[in-house]
Symmetry: C2
Subunit: 351 residues, 2 copies
């Protein structure tokens, strides 16, 4: 690490006040020609890098960022991501950043196309997006590249169309890990079930698809003889879900271990609690309130978490660092794969 | 949250430059009497809270902190805590803080008494200590209280003698959690083993003792019939340890599950690997390099981690916030209880 040069040290060497150095650095008036020259020579000698933070504060420029995220209801996974985005907006308010959040229907690719096109037509300084399928995401990122607008991926990465930065879990590894935990939890069962949520055949999330890839990769490598059942629940119909779950458990009374890759494990967990299927081991993702309640009451045995609020915050921070502070930004930022039970969840919420 | 008042806004209202407001706030020269008065009226009107950070930077005061930590070798648990302490010292170097680290022998209470007495005789602005047994810690904290020197506990808390702040895991809950994982991992075995490390009968760490309390509390509540064997290894003699481990596994060939509450799980893990006891499930604590190597190679199945570097960093930050920035400090700061396997450890090192 290069040693940091402090304004104090410059002032001492130039034999002027800290305020004078400050004024020279920011090009403000109120400094004698002699002092200014002396300070400038020393700045050069010491190879002083201007403090971009202070320069940005002194500037009057404002920045417009847009976020394109999946449509969701209050209290769902994306609420936490948005909370992090708003926290960053507040933390960096000195830089005059404004943020607009647009939403697309994750089960309808046309919705992503429409919303992204409307963003392309705006004057934006930076974009944060949760990508949909690569083929639908590419026209948007191509347009942003052409305009020179930096963009950040959140949730899932598209390696072939690299963004300024990516924030999210390594989904494949996360699914691989989840499989190892489920097999341990269930004492290496012969039959397990994957619960999905689909709408007209669409899963609506790259992350969920990739978690399943990793999960099956682990199963293939370590338990190729284990039967993997699949139950596709509905996205917008909880009553139908209950009927389907009932039917499934009647037909498969010996299946005692399962997983969901979407964030609504509580749909299954609450069913298990209602039906008193206490010996069923369910693993799910993300700390939605209803998931956490299930975890504490036993309907879910493990939740895998990934700091969504921090993802939202860090993504906006990266845009600020790149655009305003001219700092280098780390391109791939994998979040930890955190495993929570009712015994350790109370201590999780640290930043 | 109160709305933040920005220097920019004050400058706008007073119709002066940002630099002028800055000079008034920090009592520097170069401002006309008229401007100064106008700015002061507006500062009062807007109920401006001086920016302690800027004031501290402008001040010439320096601070002397002392840390009293267990003696250890390079690469052991406390190395990471010290790394965090040095990172904080560098991050807050603008405040002129100096840090001295003293060490005590954790297996010899007289050593704590001696080292702490020598610190009491120094002129210190703040102290960070890893407490030993409460009865030996109290004379030190009493003396610090009498001198009005703020102190911070790291690793284990002493609730009856509260410090300005505590950083560490909830040890009892951590042990309780560890027991739940071990019983799951071993498929509810009838016999398990606790490996300790002692020197002349002393465990040398409040944390380790409390983890064992929590562990046994879980076992009593959920598996009271499970036999808990105990093997006390030596602290300073790895050759003896190998002999004792050999003897133990010859006498107890059916024990397949065990745990260590100290940070040297690798002593057992490396033995298991050498002896090809692959079916033994070992859980340990902390991410020492040798522990992580065992985890990746299978000698350890789970490691529980607690961000030691962050603890050291945050503890020093708290002293700075309290003493220099006059901020309120959160008194109890429990670290997360993080569970790592070879499948998720690569993604853990995020701050």
């Amino acid at each position: 690490m290069a040693e940091r040069i402090r304004i104090k040290d410059i002032a001492k060497r130039a034999n002027v006040s800290v305020g004078t150095v400050d004024r020279v650095i920011h090009g403000r008036s109120g400094v004698s020609k002699k002092s200014r020259e002396r300070v400038e020579v020393i700045l050069k000698e010491m190879n002083y890098q201007p403090n971009m933070y202070a320069s940005a504060l002194a500037s009057n420029k404002s920045y417009m960022f847009a976020c394109l995220l999946p449509k969701h209801e209050e209290g769902e996974y994306w609420t936490e991501v948005q909370r992090g985005i708003y926290e960053a907006m507040s933390a960096f308010s000195d830089f005059n950043i404004n943020i607009e959040i647009a939403h697309y229907d994750p089960f309808n690719y046309a919705s992503f196309v429409q919303e992204s096109q409307s963003l392309v037509n705006k004057e934006l300084d930076g974009v944060l997006l949760a990508p949909t399928l690569p083929s639908y995401t590419k026209p948007f990122t191509d347009a942003l590249n052409q305009k020179g607008t930096p963009y950040i991926y959140i949730d899932s990465n598209i390696a072939e169309e690299p963004a300024l930065a990516f924030y999210g879990q390594n989904s494949v590894q996360s699914g691989y890990f989840a499989a190892s935990i489920l097999m341990m939890l269930g004492h290496a069962p012969h039959e397990i079930v994957i619960f999905r949520k689909k709408y007209e055949g669409v899963i609506g999330s790259n992350q969920q698809e990739r978690r399943e890839v990793g999960f099956k990769r682990y199963m293939q490598a370590h338990y190729p003889q284990c039967t993997i059942l699949e139950l596709d629940l509905q996205v917008k119909n909880e009553t139908d879900d209950m009927l389907m779950l009932n039917k499934f458990f009647q037909e498969h009374p010996n299946v005692k271990n399962g997983i969901t890759f979407n964030s609504k494990a509580y749909i299954v967990g609450e069913f298990l609690q209602k039906e008193k299927l206490d010996d069923f081991n369910l693993i799910g993702y993300d700390l939605l309130q209803r998931n956490v309640a299930c975890l504490k009451e036993g309907g879910i045995k493990f939740l895998i978490a990934q700091h969504p609020r921090l993802q939202g915050y860090n993504a906006i921070q990266s845009l600020c660092e790149h655009l305003i502070l001219k700092k280098a930004v780390n391109p791939i930022n994998y979040m930890p794969i955190d495993l929570l039970t009712k015994e350790n969840i109370s201590y999780y919420n640290i930043r």
